[in-house]
């Protein structure tokens, strides 16, 4: 029950509800009253509520840092 799952906001329907795409053909209506979100953005959904908007730039930054670890010989990271 404590699982948070990423989903894409497909269609906002009024103040609280939105259609969300969970991937693999799964669409569900979720409650978006706890976040400020636009169509096309990704959110973390927990027990039917979006609780956080995913920051794609930060996701890319994180990946960049991690990549340095896959090549331990040349990596500069301390």
């Amino acid at each position: 029950m404590c699982l948070g799952i990423p989903a894409r906001i497909v269609k906002v329907k009024g103040e609280r509800k939105s259609l969300a795409d969970f991937g693999g053909g799964v669409m569900r209506e979720i409650d978006i009253s706890l976040v400020d979100v636009r169509e096309g953005e990704y959110v973390i959904v927990h027990a039917g509520f979006a609780i956080s908007v995913i920051d794609e730039e930060e996701a890319e930054e994180t990946m960049k840092i991690w990549r340095l670890f896959s090549d331990t010989e040349t990596s500069e990271l301390r």
């Binding site: 029950m1 948070g4 706890l34 976040v35 609780i51 996701a59 991690w66 990549r67 670890f69 331990t72």
Partner: protein, 372 residues
């Protein structure tokens, strides 16, 4: 969105372990407080990889169903037996209270519904206008704002909430205060943190000098969080860092916190395996008393409580399940003599085997033998 491939790239995990091996000579023990972290760790064998570098990562009280006390469950069971409709999350259904579970109640004719969200519970109340519907509401800071949002938005007259919500940071402090073992650092739960933010943990690092890193739930998130903890220790620092920046902002989700704080107030509650922890539970504020099952059925609950106290006195000697010790990180599930023998997900004895977020359930699912 970036593919999940790199979140799971084994080369990165190996790169991190190799570096940790070079950095470390002694033994370190980190604790996390989230069932989803435990799932990632066991499923991908991160504990085995990290052990090679002298690092132990153990689960704490991160399963909301597991930390709910038998007493709270028994109140829900009794309300169901007394004719109310109980709606709750699936994991709670089979967990035994003092005497029986909600599943037992349903088997003997009570109405118990399993829901995915508080919204489903409200829909049930709208459909069953003649009955009282009680939402047995469990979960940490991730779930509490949803419950609160529903209350603020207005719920049907016949709907009320039996709150067993709990807060994570007070439990972390309690674990250190109890001093049963050395904890060299905490891996903090990503989604709870997306609500409460980085600042909500800072007092713990300041007060106890323990490093913390907020982590996401992909294998590399956890591995990198461990690396960040080790780096902090090497630098001689103790602070709260955020590995899960794509989801967690420094000040969390203000909107969700405002909603939660408008409806709930913090109270002292016991957790399974723990004594009463100060300001670690959430109850409805007086303004929402009419939505609070504890208030609405006060007399009925008083009576239930009296019967329970007698029952618990009789039972106190038959403590066989070691869930409490598992939740405090004192033993690993495999050290429970019942693990995989008398107790399995098909025939669970304690909540740690019932819930898919429980450490016993997770270990059994991915590694039946229980061996590391």
């Amino acid at each position: 969105m970036a593919s999940f491939f790199r979140y799971r790239d084994e080369r990165i995990a190996i790169g991190i372990v190799e570096r940790l091996k070079r950095l470390l000579s002694g033994h370190l023990r980190f604790m996390h407080v989230c069932g989803t972290h435990q799932d990632t760790i066991v499923r991908f064998g991160l504990d085995i990889m990290l052990k090679e570098a002298g690092i132990e990562v153990i689960p704490g009280p991160g399963c909301p169903v597991c930390v709910t006390t038998p007493y709270e469950i028994e109140i829900a069971v009794n309300l169901a037996n007394n004719g109310k409709i109980i709606a709750t999350f699936g994991d709670m259904f089979r967990v035994k209270g003092v005497k029986s579970s909600l599943a037992d109640a349903r088997a003997s004719g009570a109405s118990v519904f399993i829901v995915y969200s508080v919204s489903d519970a409200i829909a049930i109340a709208s459909e069953h206008k003649k009955k009282d519907v009680v939402f047995f509401s469990i979960g940490f800071e991730t779930t509490a704002p949803a419950t609160a949002s529903a209350v603020l938005n207005g719920v049907p007259e016949n709907f009320s909430i039996l709150s067993a919500h709990r807060l994570i940071p007070p439990a972390m402090s309690a674990l250190i205060e109890m001093g049963e073992m050395r904890i060299d650092g905490f891996i903090n739960p990503g989604h709870v943190s997306s609500i409460i933010g980085v600042g909500a943990y800072e007092h713990i690092s300041k007060r106890y000098g323990v490093p913390q890193v907020i982590a996401g739930f992909e294998p590399i998130d956890v591995m990198y969080a461990v690396y960040m903890l080790v780096s902090q220790i090497m630098r001689g620092e103790a602070c709260v860092e955020n590995e899960y920046r794509r989801v967690v902002r420094y000040d969390g989700n203000k909107k969700a916190r405002e909603v939660m704080n408008a409806v709930f107030r913090a109270v002292d509650v016991a957790w399974r395996g723990f004594p009463v922890i100060k300001s670690s539970g959430l109850q409805l504020k007086r303004t929402y008393e009419d939505k609070d099952a504890l208030k609405r059925y006060e007399d009925e609950i008083d009576e239930i409580e009296q019967n329970l106290t007698e029952l618990m006195e009789k039972q106190s000697s038959e403590a066989t399940c070691r869930c409490g010790d598992v939740l405090r990180g004192i033993i690993s599930p495999a050290e429970c003599p019942l693990f995989g023998r008398a107790c399995s997900p098909h025939r669970p004895i304690g909540p740690c085997m019932v819930s898919r977020e429980g450490s016993c359930n997770i270990l059994y699912r991915y590694r039946k033998s229980g061996r590391l």
